[in-house]
Symmetry: D2
Subunit: 337 residues, 4 copies
Amino acid sequence: MIVVMRRGASEEQVQAVVEKVKELGFRSHLSVGEERTIIGVIGDERRVSEGVFRVMEGVEKVVRILHPFKLASRDFHPHDTIVPINGVSIGDRPVVLMAGPCAVESREQLLETALAVKEAGVHILRAGAFKPRTSPYSFQGLGEKGLELLAEVKEETGLAVITEVMAPEQVPLVAQCADILQVGTRNMQNYNLLHAVGESGKPVLLKRGMMSTMEELLMSAEYILSHGNYRVMLCERGIRTFEPYTRNTLDISAVPVLKQLTHLPVIVDPSHAAGNWEWVTPLSMAAVAAGADGLLVEVHPHPDKALSDGPQSLRPERFKELVEKVRAVAQAVGRSL
Amino acid sequence: MIVVMRRGASEEQVQAVVEKVKELGFRSHLSVGEERTIIGVIGDERRVSEGVFRVMEGVEKVVRILHPFKLASRDFHPHDTIVPINGVSIGDRPVVLMAGPCAVESREQLLETALAVKEAGVHILRAGAFKPRTSPYSFQGLGEKGLELLAEVKEETGLAVITEVMAPEQVPLVAQCADILQVGTRNMQNYNLLHAVGESGKPVLLKRGMMSTMEELLMSAEYILSHGNYRVMLCERGIRTFEPYTRNTLDISAVPVLKQLTHLPVIVDPSHAAGNWEWVTPLSMAAVAAGADGLLVEVHPHPDKALSDGPQSLRPERFKELVEKVRAVAQAVGRSL
Amino acid sequence: MIVVMRRGASEEQVQAVVEKVKELGFRSHLSVGEERTIIGVIGDERRVSEGVFRVMEGVEKVVRILHPFKLASRDFHPHDTIVPINGVSIGDRPVVLMAGPCAVESREQLLETALAVKEAGVHILRAGAFKPRTSPYSFQGLGEKGLELLAEVKEETGLAVITEVMAPEQVPLVAQCADILQVGTRNMQNYNLLHAVGESGKPVLLKRGMMSTMEELLMSAEYILSHGNYRVMLCERGIRTFEPYTRNTLDISAVPVLKQLTHLPVIVDPSHAAGNWEWVTPLSMAAVAAGADGLLVEVHPHPDKALSDGPQSLRPERFKELVEKVRAVAQAVGRSL
Amino acid sequence: MIVVMRRGASEEQVQAVVEKVKELGFRSHLSVGEERTIIGVIGDERRVSEGVFRVMEGVEKVVRILHPFKLASRDFHPHDTIVPINGVSIGDRPVVLMAGPCAVESREQLLETALAVKEAGVHILRAGAFKPRTSPYSFQGLGEKGLELLAEVKEETGLAVITEVMAPEQVPLVAQCADILQVGTRNMQNYNLLHAVGESGKPVLLKRGMMSTMEELLMSAEYILSHGNYRVMLCERGIRTFEPYTRNTLDISAVPVLKQLTHLPVIVDPSHAAGNWEWVTPLSMAAVAAGADGLLVEVHPHPDKALSDGPQSLRPERFKELVEKVRAVAQAVGRSL
């Protein structure tokens, strides 16, 4: 951490910072420049807030030097984390496909979709039983009934299941059926929920908040990892910007940046970013070309009857085309599907 | 709702939309333009998703006409909602001050601050027992112990209390001590929590998500109102933008816009927006000049010892100056303090 | 265009809008809903501002139905525009590479880079003589001297040249040497410049403003097209968001969305988006996988001596690797390099 | 400037940075921490790009310590700059009002507005002859004819005039009539234009780019100041965010932050930020409460006939109310009107 003093800060002010550094158990390092004096704080800065210094008289700003995350960082864990699910290794050479409807709507709808995506080569079925919706007047998901249907279809098809959990008290119930617990974009900083999924020991797919930086995503992962649960996957799903054409702006750069910063697998959800099925296939291809370890894609047999996210859902036959196009890209970048 | 067909959409495609409109129980209204055919959907569009139409063949886009919120809207509730707390009427002529430390840290710290803000004319004490923190390595609040201290200080000073609740299961406990339940910016779309505070029947201060639109804020309020709990206050606390100088960008326009759209009181939190105590006073004055019904301000007797948000906390003597300056502005705009 | 009246708008107010529609030479179409009356405006809405109606008494909002751009739209020009430059057809099956240093710094630097990128298979050399720089204290480009060096190196290598033009009065001079005139991100809405490059008749690469929507980009293209100059290429180069890790956020979705909206070729500049050479190769691969017609990449033989943009410039040997990886992706998506 | 080495950077890499620092004429300062080695660069960092170090092997990041602007900074010019125009001192105790139509449309329209705003107490008339418009199909201003009308109305009313200049070659012409040259939001980084207005020696009102940080605004001011032209006023006019209700988001915090960073006067344009006349008055009051030195407000006698920006223009009688309300706030904060 670097404490930058204001121009003209007094000797006493500088001295007070130096003493504060010592009091907090760090070593200090003074450097007097032409326009500013700066004080280096030596030690593990993660355990102290920059505010401690920023409020002191004569201080202009405080700059952190270290990444605030540790368990998620490649600095301390250089090798890729691999999460095995249902015979596939997420984070390894194969690109993993997770696909299915936005929400569980009925046994028929779920089974039809599951069989279709299975046939297309998918190993992991996605579908929500608990649905966070902006409007209280929208379909809120089937809840426990949805979980039962998921369990049945899982049994019947042999597919693994990823489904969202919205509140700490739902974790035990959802964990019975799900192979992967999904934490949604609106809950990325729901810390009680992060603790609960950390405790569960289950694989977790953590979606980036639509308003969150990559660093904040890694800090939220850190909450889960701090419970000893290392089976965490990060998911880029589009961020909020000023551009209205797409539902959100897929931050494709997050793929190579996160792969550099962290050992955790990086999954891309092109459906929520696009908000429109027509762009899901090119975004899926781009994601794999950029190095994504997997895709989370919305598929619905009858998008015009979908109770949520119909416009961004692919019909099964279009999803098959997506799979073939993604396979070609995966092979071009030295991966398999 | 307006369904816009693509240029060159076929008669069959148009007809299919018209039939879908009828099937959903709406009336339709066809208008054939030079470049596009558009179909008006007549009825309460809030009960249907635009996706239903957007996925249909030949449809280019769907435009909503009505506000998606109803209970929060002035359309159906033209008069200002007034929330009486501890003898002050929030949403009425007086501008209401809520002030105190970011977090409860100790009995001494809390009592010292409470007495100072009371002396400055404040009726409502703010302080967090449960703290949502970006980093798992930061101080996470005193939890239940913090609530006990709040209850003691409330008893001792006669101040009303506003404090944050982070999870549905905490609501009963927090509601014992708090006069106002605060839902934080990261939880604005934590729907399980919104249901729980709605159920509680307690006054709620709902903070705008730092990257949520005003419409989404009103939709989240709608969740609470739909439980019959109308004592809801909205809080603008800064939104996330590309500007790095301030912690967040205070969206001052939200004050007049929200006052026009909704009957609910609008409170401004200048401290989190600024992230720096030096700018809290001018932002407070601006908020009141723009029509805010109240302010939520962080005050700490020793900001350099604060366990969170020190840099944006005002010392009691500076807070007193803020109160005097805000009082002058309040009077200039026909309000009192 | 749709004019939405406020709830409770009077008959007179509705009538006034209807008459205004007629006065402006449009036909109107009235639709009385349960909560709102709406008035359809039939005719080419592009020639009128929505403000004309929005200011009228009783009007709540005005919604445009048509794309505001016409010449750039596929509606009126369904086939891809192809821009032939130096034997390559931009917008056709091959993915076109434009590469070179950020700025012309010296004859040696420019020639060395040009020969390296030519050897790697590039047909178009990029390099700036006039440089828009945030700081007046930064290197501002060699200006006319830079253009002379570009002309020499062009002569010597047979490469075509793309270079930036910053002001209308520079256009004739720059057009002497350049095969493609580049309009930079800060000048996307410099209308005097857009008119000048439109007049010049030269091929133009129009960079998206770093905080401009796709629609605004197409409107700026419309300025150039309106001079009868149809050899316009659009360039996505990253937009400004709240994410600080990358210099800008590459809006990869812009590729498929623009290809759908317009017939103009779409080029991607991964270097300015990333701001860091380490991420340029994966972003280039993603761009081609998403359907980009070309890439604009910064290459410098000695990035540590570069007078601008060193950190995002690739050394020639790394650029060769990029070309090979991009070639594999191009082939996987049915294109060539 | 601080150079942060990667974890595990070699001694040779550290040494290479140290030598580079020396080679560039700075002193270095080495500090070896537990996880990272950092190297302080001592001297005026403004003359060197951080890229020089960032590209070196083993370097993780480079952090600037000093503000990149110098002439605009209070560090080197602590006292407020005051710009006298037509008997009013901008930047001094009085809050200065500039008002008038978006565009000069006709002699009658301009004169009617000028007389109305003069009567309301305004000293400076705003109106555009050259208009930057997103669409080539929109009214583009009267150009030279508009300047002539401005000159006539100026003569007739005795008001000073502020009007926009869009291109370097227009500067001499516009400077004949204008008392203040306005650089618009889309031209904030049109460096050729900044040089030209700097050269002109005329007072300049520099609007913040809708996509620009405060630091970039100050850097653009620096371009003008570097020509010895110190009569520069900064103008906050709203920035682009994700919030669609307002045209732009007025960054009210920019007022106290800029007043702290720079000695230049700070003006607020509430009209373009709001995009809707209904919110212009509360935003004007907020701006003055926050410390703005002046306001730039759009007034039109017949907003429904305005050729641009009608919806955000105030009728003269409403503008008079604005003036009275703003006067009350100005007095409450110790200023006059």
